[in-house]
Symmetry: C2
Subunit: 133 residues, 2 copies
């Protein structure tokens, strides 16, 4: 498989054709070349790049951040790539901490609710109606 069309590259990377073109508009992937007809031609390199994008997205990077990451990877600046990943990790940790806090609050509310009786006996309603949970 020397080179492939947009349908093949999309299928190989597990994304939609429109998504490939969307990523191209967003400056994330470019075809290896074009036929005289205008048809885009891709190689395995672009498949890897598309998979990189998907993987990075699943790790919580926005397309803008991924574009920066890709730019850095071609500038061969390993230190910058690491710094960006570290910043993202810190962001994830912050979310994790806050989510754990709300989990604890919600959990104690659920445990304290008898599940029957008057609304006054339900701490969930008390918490939502009155002060913040």
């Amino acid at each position: 498989m020397e080179s492939m069309g947009i349908g093949a590259v999309a299928k190989a990377a597990g994304v939609g054709i429109d998504t490939v073109r969307y990523y191209e508009r967003a400056g994330l992937v470019a075809p290896k070349g074009r036929l005289s007809s205008g048809y885009r031609r891709y190689s395995e390199l672009e498949v890897s790049r598309l998979r990189f994008i998907r993987r990075a997205q699943s790790l919580g990077f926005s397309l803008k951040e991924i574009r920066e990451l890709l730019a850095l990877s071609s500038s061969r600046n390993v230190a910058s790539v690491k710094r960006k990943a570290e910043a993202k990790l810190a962001d994830v940790d912050r979310r994790l901490t806050e989510l754990k806090r709300i989990r604890a609050g919600l959990s104690s509310l659920v445990e304290a609710c008898p599940g029957h009786g008057l609304p006054e006996s339900c701490p969930i309603l008390q918490a939502l109606g009155g002060e913040s949970p």
Copy 2:
């Protein structure tokens, strides 16, 4: 301060006036009442509600989810309130699991990257460019 206008409630909750009206359209907050002129009037209750929305949002809840959360408070059925809170807790747990997965992926990548040298030595670029776990 018996009652306040939209500007005051927005300021007290730390959001924009347009945002308050947007939340009203989205069914998240309603003014306590209106003047004959049509001006919205709010009490401290709405300030709490707005603050709750902001906090829940910062924890990664969408406005749709927050609306569901808030709907719990207007239900008079304690059992159903408890069930919904439990479902929301399960939601939070799923989020937590996903975030932990993201954290683990990022963390191992960051730890394995030397922060200098050739891109070939950077596992952030290598791992993301290669296969998926």
